[in-house]
C-alpha cells in the first residue's frame, strides 16, 4: 500500500487537546503530521491504516488530498511539510509539529 496525504476535520471543532490526541494517534499508527491547521491536522499515512484514524471518535472526516505543484503556495506547503517531517523523523514518535495554519 502507498502513503497518502489526508486532511482531518475534528469532531466538535478544533481544540488544542483534540488535535494533539489525533496527532498522537496518527504517530502511533506510523503516520506523520505534515501540518497542523485550525481545521485539523494534515497527515501522511499508509492507506491501509487510514481507516483506523477515520474511525476515531475525535475525527469527523478524513479526506485524501494531493499537492498541486502549480498552486500559488505549493512551494511553501512543500517546505512546511518537509520541515515538519524532518522533525518527526529525527525526533522519533514523540515529536509533533506546532500549529502552522
Amino acid at each position: 500500500m502507498a502513503t497518502q496525504i489526508y486532511i482531518i476535520t475534528l469532531r466538535g471543532g478544533y481544540t488544542h487537546e483534540s488535535s494533539r490526541d489525533v496527532q498522537r494517534l496518527v504517530r502511533g499508527l506510523g503516520g506523520y503530521i505534515l501540518m497542523a491547521t485550525r481545521t485539523g491536522p494534515i497527515i501522511a499515512i499508509d492507506e491501509s491504516r487510514a481507516p483506523l484514524v477515520g474511525r476515531n471518535p475525535l475525527v469527523e472526516f478524513l479526506g485524501p488530498v494531493t499537492l498541486n505543484p502549480n498552486g500559488v503556495a505549493a512551494g511553501i506547503l512543500t517546505r512546511i511539510f518537509a520541515e515538519n517531517l524532518s522533525k518527526q523523523i529525527e525526533g522519533g514518535a514523540g515529536s509533533q509539529p506546532g500549529l502552522n495554519g
Binding site: 486532511i7 491547521t37 485550525r38 481545521t39 494534515i42 498541486n68 498552486g71 500559488v72 506547503l77 495554519g101
Partner: protein, 212 residues
C-alpha cells in the same frame, strides 16, 4: 434434470447488475467524499507571507592588526528582514487539491461445477436343496405278512433365494464467484475544481493569469 438447465439457472444478469450497482454507489460515495474534502480545503485558511524582503547594509567590523603597523577592516554585513504582512490563503488556493478515485476496470468471474452419477447394481443368489429320506424296517406289520419288509419314505425340499438390488444416485454442484475491481486515483474533474484568476495590478496594464 439437466446440467445445461442448471447452468442456465445461474443468475448472471442479477449478479452483473448487483456488481454494477455496487460500483456506481461506491463511485458516488467516493465523489461525495472528495467534494467534502474540496469544501474543507476551501474553508481552511492559513497565514501566507508572500514576500520577505532582506536588506543588506554594510556594517564594518573592528580593524584587525596584521602587525607592522598594518591593519585591515573586514567588511561586515547587517541583514534586516522585512516580512510582508501575512494574508489569509486557503489550502485550496495554496495548492492542496482533493484526491479523486475512479473504478477503472471490473471483472466478474463465475465458476460452476456440476456432476451427477448413477450406480445400479443387481445381485441374486438361489440355493435349492432336495433331501430324500428312506427308512426300511424288517419284520412285523401287514407287509411282513406278505413277505415284504416294512418301511417309510420321507422327502424334504428346501430352497432360498437372495436378491439384492441397489440404485445409487448422487448429484453434486459446486460454485464460486469472484468479483474484482480496480480503483485508481485520477485528476480532479475539471468542472469540480474552481479556476483561479489572478489579476496583477502592479504592472500596467494589469496582467491576468488563469490557472486550474
Amino acid at each position: 434434470m439437466g446440467i445445461g438447465k442448471d447452468l442456465l439457472d445461474v443468475p448472471f444478469g442479477d449478479m452483473i447488475f448487483s456488481m454494477a450497482n455496487a460500483i456506481a454507489n461506491s463511485q458516488r460515495k467516493l465523489d461525495a467524499a472528495s467534494l467534502r474534502t474540496l469544501r474543507t480545503l476551501a474553508g481552511t485558511k492559513f497565514d501566507f507571507i508572500p514576500e520577505v524582503t532582506e536588506v543588506l547594509t554594510p556594517k564594518p567590523l573592528d580593524p584587525i592588526d596584521l602587525g607592522g603597523g598594518q591593519t585591515v577592516t573586514p567588511t561586515g554585513v547587517d541583514i534586516k528582514v522585512f516580512p510582508s504582512p501575512p494574508i489569509k490563503l486557503t489550502l485550496l488556493q495554496a495548492g492542496l487539491v482533493p484526491q479523486f478515485y475512479q473504478f477503472t476496470e471490473s471483472i466478474i468471474e463465475v465458476k460452476i461445477s456440476l456432476s451427477s452419477k448413477l450406480d445400479i447394481s443387481h445381485s441374486s443368489e438361489v440355493d435349492i436343496g432336495l433331501e430324500v429320506d428312506t427308512k426300511v424296517e424288517a419284520g412285523g406289520g401287514l407287509l411282513s405278512f406278505f413277505g415284504g419288509p416294512s418301511g417309510s419314505v420321507s422327502t424334504s425340499f428346501s430352497s432360498h433365494v437372495n436378491i439384492k438390488n441397489s440404485i445409487t444416485y448422487s448429484y453434486t454442484a459446486e460454485g464460486s464467484s469472484l468479483l474484482r475491481t480496480t480503483l485508481k486515483p485520477v485528476p480532479p474533474p475539471v468542472r469540480f475544481m474552481p479556476r483561479f484568476i489572478t489579476v496583477n495590478a502592479l504592472v500596467s496594464p494589469p496582467a491576468i493569469n488563469t490557472s486550474e
